[in-house]
Symmetry: C2
Subunit: 336 residues, 2 copies
């Protein structure tokens, strides 16, 4: 059964259904425009743990448990789990999911990880390799600042192009039947490197990758932007959105009507001091679980293109003067 | 087409073939017992680059190019690439494969990454999602010591239980037809945490995960150890091997006759001062490419179980006092 579509895409002949989704967020996210939609809100960003990393692991455990509960599945019924985060060697995931005892396939695509995980999970179900697969991703403002920039106590200033790492974890459970949301297609992203060297302007690093994946998706499936109710990027923020629009126009596509960005949706620009918007492995995941999937479930949106975006850097490569390449993976999600 | 097998395994109905494999190693590896078998040997461990990380990226580029050359494929014919390494945020892979322009799905399972990548690549081919998929993984002694332990200049002493990170990269190209090596089954591993806290004894951290995956594989497929010509772990070393044997006996399996460990094979214990053996994301990958696959290709071995083993730690979790859990993914590889 050949399911290849165009150069980089896959048309899933037996589209898997998303039968459970859950979001866990911190205090700041609960105060944003989507605050009322999130499933679990923790007022204490330590989540009762003794380090930021353990707090992030705790979020993954909680979001997984909540998503499995919505799906009506026990851990023993989930055949495998695709998980990832932004920390070195995926420690938030390793420690976050170990008590669930589900076979783990660790994935990393920076903030595009949620898209990569869902794409692989969808293929596992559609290919008959599993009857139930879960995905989980997370980010935490404090663990990410410590990993990539400065410890919080240092109190460094942030430029206006900077985004704010979302404290949150989103988990999803996929199966071959159930509910009204299904994943019908995947576009795998390439590493796109525009030689941007500013780790405080992730939008500019990721926008070229988003443009590459979106235009590739449209060409591979022979669609126009109007074929999607929304084209939703992960965390480009205001700066990245502007660049994306320009790059898409250069490719001959106008997506102003359809474009939405999870990083723009999640915080209030006027009052929350998050500059260019939200970012992180949790940003697109919690927005998908809390805001996007419910609209598809109800049929308000019939078909969307969901494109989590990632900036591929570590402090090591960045400090050695290397660029910050981007990557983005696309998922076609439809009401059924 | 239900391909699920037992609790954690998959029986591939249309087993993909490994049509190209390549290994790139450094000087020390070339001086070991497998030295004559490796494809590309670089006398300068910097590989002509200006940092250890860039050197590791260079190894990935070279091993990918060599594997594609063996397979007779251009980069444009490889539909996607599963890649990973041990560094934070997979920078060796991001920068190593970007010039190839192949869609990238980043994976992380510590030193089990080679197994995870091959498992997912095999499922993509078998499921009809792609006609040609590649995998690449790497490790570099110097970049790993810098990432996880001490900079080389510090000259710290290494305990006898410690393993030596292999400088090397292995790449593989899979397709639905070609050659005499195919992947017929997969056993996905769980995170197994025996609460070991010694990052200088990775064998002890990983052996429980290896035992879990191997015994699961035997039960899921209804096989005995005798059904495999070899059961080959990734990098348990001498210390880990001893523990594995004991744990397997507790599970009711005697694998002394079949067991082999890439970390034990790759260095000479007497002369190379590598203590418990070799380790790293490159260890099992280069041994598979250089030594194991040729034996299967020739029919010398009819069926093996290949089980790369990973220790899930980062300096952050380790310094915060967390344990070092293990994970191992199993692949059934057969002559055809």
């Amino acid at each position: 059964m050949n399911q290849m579509c165009g150069q980089q895409s896959i048309r899933l002949e037996q589209p898997p259904h998303v039968i459970g989704a859950a979001s866990v967020v911190g205090k700041k996210e609960s105060e944003g425009p989507l605050g009322d939609l999130f499933g679990i809100i923790c007022e204490d960003d330590m989540f009762g743990e003794e380090s930021w990393e353990k707090a992030e692991s705790r979020m993954q455990t909680e979001s997984m448990r909540a998503a499995m509960s919505v799906a009506g599945k026990r851990a023993g019924q989930v055949r495998c789990l695709f998980g990832g985060d932004l920390l070195g060697q995926l420690i938030a995931t390793s420690f976050g999911v170990e008590e669930l005892n589900i076979p783990l396939l660790g994935v990393y695509g920076a903030c595009s990880t949620c898209g990569e995980a869902l794409a692989l999970a969808a293929m596992m179900i559609s290919g008959g390799y599993a009857d139930c697969v879960a995905t989980v991703t997370s980010s935490h403002f404090a663990s990410a600042e410590k990993q990539f920039r400065f410890p919080l106590g240092y109190g460094n200033q942030r430029p206006l192009a900077a985004t704010w790492t979302v404290t949150g974890s989103g988990a999803f459970v996929l199966a071959s039947q159930g509910g009204h949301v299904r994943i019908t297609g995947v576009t795998m992203g390439r590493v796109v490197d525009y030689d941007v060297h500013d780790s405080m302007n992730m939008g500019a690093c990721m926008a070229p990758a988003a443009a590459d994946t979106i235009s590739r998706n449209l060409r591979d499936f022979g669609r126009t932007p109007e074929d999607y109710d929304r084209i939703i990027t992960g965390d480009l923020g205001y700066v990245g959105q502007t660049i994306l629009m320009e790059l898409m126009r250069e490719q001959g596509f106008e997506i102003r009507q359809q474009h939405m960005d999870c990083g723009i949706e999640i915080y209030d620009r006027e009052t929350q001091d998050t500059h260019s918007g939200g970012s992180g492995c949790g940003c697109s995941a919690v927005t998908l679980a809390a805001m996007i999937l419910p609209k598809i479930e109800k049929g308000e949106w019939k078909r969307i293109l969901f494109v989590p975006t990632g900036a591929l850097l570590s402090t090591v490569s960045f400090n050695e003067g290397q660029s910050v390449p981007g990557i983005a993976h696309g998922l076609v999600i439809e009401h059924c």
